[in-house]
């Protein structure tokens, strides 16, 4: 089945053209997946070319269309895999879906099992169910962590930019600027991994594809004219204020709700100091404390919902600023 004729468009004759065609075939796909697909394809094509010295790029690509696949076929394969993976990664409902690759041949006779429609959950279950989802704690942890990462990113960017600009008068500013911009790309990939692991937003797993036919100097130039580099800088600068806000929201709400929850217990031991004091005067009678505990529980779950919401918004922002293609 390797020798099938490749229908459709003419085969590209150079590796950049092949990658451009692959990118075009994936134009409506998730940008993070496109980045991975281009990276994989380039690794294969370059390795194949290196393994067959003396043959032209066009000949090698003609072979590769049989073994690796023509750009359109590759695009189709990645699209399908992404759907399968998304299905596999979805939080399993009651009867967890069987892991398909564990049963090598069982799928031969029948088509894919129909997805059971998810049962609608009551509003109450939805409100409290948030505590059972791993994503919630990921988002909460991200909010707490963002103070540290935000401070680091901000410092890195401000220091890097001012060092490069300041030293630009001397010739040494140029290599400093190049190194700094290179490091920003690496940090962007790192932040992407964090965002994907904790917030669940699909981010690139491979560095951006860079056109190898261009010289080193041209590629360095590309780094400065690429809009994504500047958006990444913007993201890193924004991370400081956002990190402070996220951290403050998380710690304030968590400590308030946990404090409320424990008021009845504290009231058992010393009724003098429990409750809400204004100007040193106790504002609440002691029987209100169980009520405070209930409010605390509600507040705690509301906080979890808020964390999820913030995580979702931040994931979308990271995607727009870090992986725009």
């Amino acid at each position: 089945m390797n020798i099938e004729s490749v229908a459709g468009r003419a085969l590209p004759t150079t590796i950049p053209a092949y990658l451009a065609q692959l990118r075009a075939a994936l134009h409506d796909a998730d940008p993070a997946m496109v980045q991975d697909a281009l990276y994989d394809a380039e690794e294969y094509l370059r390795s194949e070319l290196a393994a067959q010295p003396g043959r032209s790029e066009a000949e090698v690509i003609a072979d590769v269309a049989g073994s690796y696949g023509a750009p359109e076929e590759v695009a189709e394969i990645y699209r399908e895999t992404e759907i399968t993976v998304n299905r596999a990664l979805r939080t399993p409902s009651a009867g967890a879906a069987p892991i398909r690759r564990a049963a090598p041949v069982s799928a031969g006779a029948q088509t894919a099992p129909p997805q059971a429609p998810p049962k609608p959950r009551s509003a109450l279950a939805r409100f409290f169910g948030v505590a059972l989802e791993a994503r919630t704690y990921g988002a909460l942890f991200y909010m707490l962590l963002s103070l540290a990462t935000g401070t680091f990113f901000f410092t890195w960017v401000v220091t890097g930019l001012s060092l490069s600009l300041g030293l630009m008068v001397l010739i040494i500013g140029i290599p400093v600027a190049v190194l700094f911009f290179g490091s920003v790309r690496g940090l962007s990939l790192l932040e992407g991994r964090l965002v994907e692991a904790l917030l669940g937003e699909r981010m690139p797993r491979r560095p951006t594809y860079s056109d190898r036919s261009r010289s080193w100097l041209q590629r360095i130039g590309d780094m400065f004219t690429d809009g994504r580099t500047w958006l990444t800088l913007l993201y890193f600068v924004l991370m400081l204020p956002l990190g402070i806000v996220y951290f403050t929201i998380a710690t304030t709400l968590l400590s308030t709700s946990i404090g409320f929850i424990w008021t009845p217990v504290a009231a058992l031991f010393s009724s003098d100091y429990v409750g809400i004091h204004i100007d040193g005067i106790q504002m609440l009678p002691i029987w209100v404390t169980p009520l405070l505990a209930i409010i605390g529980v509600l507040l705690l779950f509301a906080t979890l919902h808020l964390a999820r919401g913030i995580g979702h918004l931040h994931g979308m922002m990271a995607k727009h600023l870090l992986v725009r293609l």
Binding site: D36, E43, S47, E48, Y68, G69, R100, P104, S106, A107
Partner: protein, 121 residues
Amino acid sequence: MSDHEVHLKKFQKELSSGTVSLALLAVLAKAGEPLYGYLIAKELERVGEGVLSGKQSALYPVLRNLEGAGLLESHVEPSVAGPPRRYYRINDTGREVLSHWTAAWRATRDSVDSVLEGVTA
């Protein structure tokens, strides 16, 4: 494309969804050293027949999924030929899973073979 070919293609696709993972794990378990995508693809191409000889671009996402599932480990090394390569290595969980899968595969293959025995097409 005739009707039979459509059926065959569909069958091969479904057959390959699990067997490719099994084959990738086996190749990495046998290799004894970390391999990158291209080498793995070539190794499969060398021995591959039937569903394993499908398009090699399909292997890369599967490798990534196996790593995501914690059966493989990977690291990146720069290369002179192109972009940095990601080398994959099977870990202990992967080896355990492979032995279970191998048993499941053998059992399935044997029973399918015995069912097919004596069938005249």
